[in-house]
């Protein structure tokens, strides 16, 4: 069953004549002509006519400097906000969203945080406990069900947050710089874990970051956004085999190329 959640009606300005065709079976996320203004329309938009399609099971990294509207874009896909213009389609229903902060609820244990996501999805009491334990095992936190949030390290919290996001059973996982606040070693481990879980679950992932190497290490596709207004500048297909390491020469080479483009993009604003 496919439910199309259209965040806004397509306007004549972008698709004259007919409405946009509904996303087909080969699409996890489709954005067409998406613009977002905050406040009055005379100010430059945060996002300007974004067209982006993510295939089922695809791992796409959105890369950009501050002010490129990366987080705004994820909010639109997550349905937390509506675009000023254009359409956002997520055929498989509500996506899961992970933030930079783990944002676990401190009044619940690690396991209860996951169970809350299951409960809000309508999972019965018996199944919740078993499913929460399965998800905790998936992120290598067996036996942490009763741990309080403040008893967990930053990396452990972010893994619980990942398990909670997976508990939402969305086919799309949106990640808003989820590892930016972690130390380098922990981040590296999280990259391995995310890659493993992505390959095991076949989820589509849209991963927002300002870290070029992180994008190249993780993504199958890297999309570079410009800042103010946020537009898609360029994209790269990352044809490197898994498992990848952040030190791989292939990762480094592509990162240099993308970084040059990113720097050029940023320097435009100083002129």
């Amino acid at each position: 069953m496919t439910s199309v959640s259209t965040a806004a009606v397509t306007t004549a300005a972008h698709t004259p004549g007919a409405p946009a065709p509904a996303a087909g079976p080969g699409v996890a996320v489709r954005l067409q002509g998406v613009s977002k203004h905050f406040g009055d329309a005379s100010r430059p938009p945060v996002l300007d006519r974004i067209d982006l399609t993510v295939a089922p099971g695809e791992f796409v990294c959105l890369l950009g400097a501050s002010g490129c509207g990366k987080s705004t874009l994820l909010s639109l896909v997550a349905g937390l906000d509506a675009p000023s213009d254009g359409t956002v389609e997520v055929p498989d229903g509500r996506p899961a969203l992970m933030f930079q902060e783990p944002a676990l609820y401190p009044w619940l244990t690690a396991g209860q945080n996951i169970e809350l996501a299951l409960r809000l999805r309508g999972v019965g009491r018996q199944a919740r406990r078993a499913e929460a334990d399965r998800l905790l095992a998936l992120v290598h936190l067996e036996g942490s069900h009763a741990k309080r949030v403040h008893e967990l390290s930053g990396g452990m919290r972010q893994r619980v947050a990942l398990a909670r996001a997976l508990a939402q059973e969305g086919r799309v996982l949106l990640m808003d710089e989820p590892f930016a606040a972690l130390d380098a070693i922990t981040r590296d481990v999280m990259h391995d874990e995310l890659t493993r879980i992505w390959r095991e679950t076949g989820l589509s992932v849209v991963f927002v970051t300002h870290n070029v190497r992180e994008a190249v290490r993780l993504g199958q596709r890297v999309v570079l956004l410009s800042s103010r207004p946020g537009r898609i500048v360029r994209e790269w297909t990352v044809d490197l085999p898994h498992p990848r390491r952040i030190e791989d020469s292939g990762v480094a080479e592509l990162s240099v190329e993308i970084t040059d483009h990113l720097r050029q993009e940023i320097s435009r604003h100083g002129r």
């Binding site: 937390l80 509500r94 009044w107 403040h150 390290s153 481990v189």
Partner: protein, 300 residues
């Protein structure tokens, strides 16, 4: 030797699970050993006991100096005798029990009314703008001001007492809840939306538990207001069929011009208020904060 170090084979990639287990162990906060309950209790108790001792000593000196006639200012010993007397004849216990029963019931009803009103105001901005200033104003109105009106409406009855308690406690509880809601980190609410918490689920699973630490202050203040309002109401609403609460004991002391009884009653009212704070609210607050790692005992 240099060749040794440069040509040593890399140990190979450590399995992610093993690496994580190591990191988790290293990064998990080392919990400082907790002080024993006794030493915590003692360090809280002795300064208070000392201050109380000084107070009684000063009182005794003033009494010995004869600043006021004995019927107006009895010494600590006289008051202690009266106090033991009302303890022995059961007056103290019965009056405390009746007042606590009234205060407890009034407080519970106030919490229910306050929470319902607070949630409505937190979720309907227009309602909050409309009645928020009035609720805040009511908070600063001494609840004894309601007693004459309540007596005219409800006569000398328990309804009058409860009406005054509710009017005293509800505004603090409403404002406490709104303070708690205002302090909820916006990220918690965003996560709630992402997880699909809507309507009553949002209130039950996200808003209320997130607001609880801030709301605790409002609950404590609500109890203090309920207790004060109750004493004001009991003092004035005095009829034999209503039974004898602590406020009525106080009024009895006034009519008999028995200053020892008046002071003993004041002491009892004070002691019951403190006891509820120590036995109900302090443990509740400690539990809530400790569960969230907000007590500073969780390590670095």
């Amino acid at each position: 030797m240099a060749a040794d170090t440069t040509h040593t084979a890399s140990p190979g990639r450590v399995d992610a699970r093993a690496l994580e287990a190591g990191l988790d162990a290293l990064e998990t906060a080392v919990v400082a050993p907790r002080r024993s309950a006794w030493s915590t209790a003692w360090s809280a108790f002795w300064p208070t006991a000392l201050a109380l001792g000084v107070f009684v000593a000063v009182w005794q000196l003033v009494y010995l100096a004869g600043v006021k006639p004995e019927y107006a200012l009895p010494g600590p010993a006289d008051v202690a005798t009266t106090f033991v007397g009302i303890l022995q004849d059961g007056t103290a216990l019965k009056a405390s029990a009746l007042s606590l029963q009234r205060g407890g019931l009034g407080f519970v009803v106030s919490v229910v009314v306050g929470v319902v009103l607070g949630i409505a105001m937190a979720t309907i901005p227009l309602l909050r703008r409309a009645i928020g200033p009035m609720i805040t104003g009511l908070q600063s109105l001494p609840s004894i001001a309601w007693v004459p009106a309540a007596v005219i409406w409800f006569g000398l009855s328990n309804t009058t007492i409860f009406a005054v308690v509710l009017l005293g406690a509800v505004p603090s509880i409403v404002n406490g809840l709104l303070t708690g809601v205002d302090q909820v980190p916006p990220l918690f609410l965003r996560v709630g939306r992402v997880l699909g918490a809507r309507g009553w689920d949002r209130i039950r699973f996200v808003l209320l538990p997130a607001a609880l630490p801030g709301f605790l202050g409002g609950l404590k203040q609500g109890w203090a207001f309920a207790w004060r309002s109750l004493m004001a109401a009991e003092l004035i609403t005095n009829a034999p069929r209503l039974g004898t609460g602590l406020g009525q004991v106080l009024d009895l002391g006034r009519t008999l011009s028995d200053m020892s009884l008046v002071i003993a009653a004041i002491f009892l009212i004070f002691a019951v208020g403190i006891a509820i704070e120590l036995l109900v609210f302090a443990p509740l607050e400690r539990r809530v904060l400790h569960a969230r790692g907000l007590t500073g005992l969780a390590g670095q």
